[in-house]
Symmetry: C2
Subunit: 335 residues, 2 copies
Amino acid sequence: MKKIINKPENYVKEMLEGIYTAHPDLVRYTQDDVHCLVSRYKKEGKVGIATGGGSGHLPLFLGYVGKGMLDGCSVGDVFQSPSPEQMLAVTKEIDSGAGVLYIYGNYNGDIFNFDMAAEQADFEEDIRVESVVAGEDVASPAPEPGRKNTRRGVAGIVFVYKCAGAAAEAMQSLDEVKRIAEKAAANVRTMGVALTPCVVPRVGKPGFDIAEDEMEIGMGIHGETGIRRGKIETADKITEEILEKILEDLPYQPGEEAAVLVNGLGATTLDEQYIVTGKIHEILKGRGIKVHRYYVGEYATSLEMAGLSISLLKLDDELKAYLDAPAHTPFFVQV
Amino acid sequence: MKKIINKPENYVKEMLEGIYTAHPDLVRYTQDDVHCLVSRYKKEGKVGIATGGGSGHLPLFLGYVGKGMLDGCSVGDVFQSPSPEQMLAVTKEIDSGAGVLYIYGNYNGDIFNFDMAAEQADFEEDIRVESVVAGEDVASPAPEPGRKNTRRGVAGIVFVYKCAGAAAEAMQSLDEVKRIAEKAAANVRTMGVALTPCVVPRVGKPGFDIAEDEMEIGMGIHGETGIRRGKIETADKITEEILEKILEDLPYQPGEEAAVLVNGLGATTLDEQYIVTGKIHEILKGRGIKVHRYYVGEYATSLEMAGLSISLLKLDDELKAYLDAPAHTPFFVQV
């Protein structure tokens, strides 16, 4: 395990302490628990937005707490859900009378714990909580019509945070912020490719094996099995395959607009992410799809996994305005 | 070689095209050469600042061209210097009558080519060019008093860009912007640790071998030999060793202030960078050194090398004001 760490059991605690050290003007923790991170920015009467999930995905989730995006976040150990009590602590701290929206990825542990936190907030604290569960990985099975979403939540959730955060900042009601979050979640699609596994510090060895000349298309951000494994192909071919799946799942008419997120999973260079960006542009242009904005970089990682994901958010004027609004968090500054 | 690329010989060109695709509002190229990147922001009478160097270090160098930092940048192939002609093309494009300052890292190829570009700019274009060569890696030999700097330039150059860029934005003269760049360069120190090698795409294999349980303290960002190789130690020990070398080289009095940059070299997680940040804080606090600002993330990489570097910039009120000024580039947004 080639990592610059101390004892694996202190990994998350020490990482969190580093975040508070580096960004004292933006974030702090509550309830004497470093796993319960809240924004220093508070606006009376604004809907609070909280997220949560396992550690190991920085800048997801903690890095998006600040102004114009999220108000709080609870995290668990690496790839582990935080507890209901931790999410409740965050909820109490960020509520300022307008209720709280939970936005988180579609994983069973998180759903179970955050539903429990939401109930407790309602019964014990009289805080109204609504939830939006984001799941947009087209490599996981599509939900049947009218049934619960069965897709994993991956990097596209950043678009949901951004749009909902801007709606809350614009002092929209909880119902309206929830509607925007649901709309963004319904219009985003992601798929990725992994080249190497990552090592969970407490485990000390890779989560799976993959040959030196192989890649896995559609792998999840905890190493969940993807669509297919095969020889590494060119950036152009990989980009074509991913975009085809995304555009098949949520087709665009010529003239429609998208925001594009090219997300590095951890060890893949920005160079490679930009090579893929160029190819995305060529393909979308060929289909008459206009790109309103590109985001390129590490937005949701899987520790030091090599690979990347592509997310497309279909835009209308409403989502575009919220996407373009300013935000200021440790990892997302838009002016 | 586990990379998402097309033909290695197109690597840099395609990467650059991706940058222009993703940031059309901030940057463009000149002279029909994608290697010659300039800011879309131009202010009449402002000193222009240019940098350059090899590709493979993103966000260095290209990512800092925009408003309040750099005005232009020429890059060569991976780890290769751009040509004098390319630097001259950038120089001509960014000059707006107040002259141009070159700020670049202390590498022979760059010095040779940029000195030639500066001479041509002067003789052929009547543009006054001054140069500041930044070299602050305490793992490379210290210059003898009064002799040329013999140290490698690494991540600390970002502080030099930031301070000089803010001085230029404040409409200081070329001499004054140069003085600020020299002052920042004289007050910054960096040292790093590498855990794995990286692979230059055209070469196709790692630049050096290092055992599965080994690290190299003080390695340069092109794989230059460091101070010592040994078994991987804890984050705390590594941080202590690096900080000791830095503080020995440029001592601080209790009460003096620093800006700290914790820089990932490519494959090292933000988690690890924050763990190191926490330890830095503890050590500096113990010595009575106040940290004015932390920057944590990937600022100057070595492709997909695992490892990180720590840079300290000693601050006085003048440098602090320039460091705190706003800036807006593809990779550095400060409000």
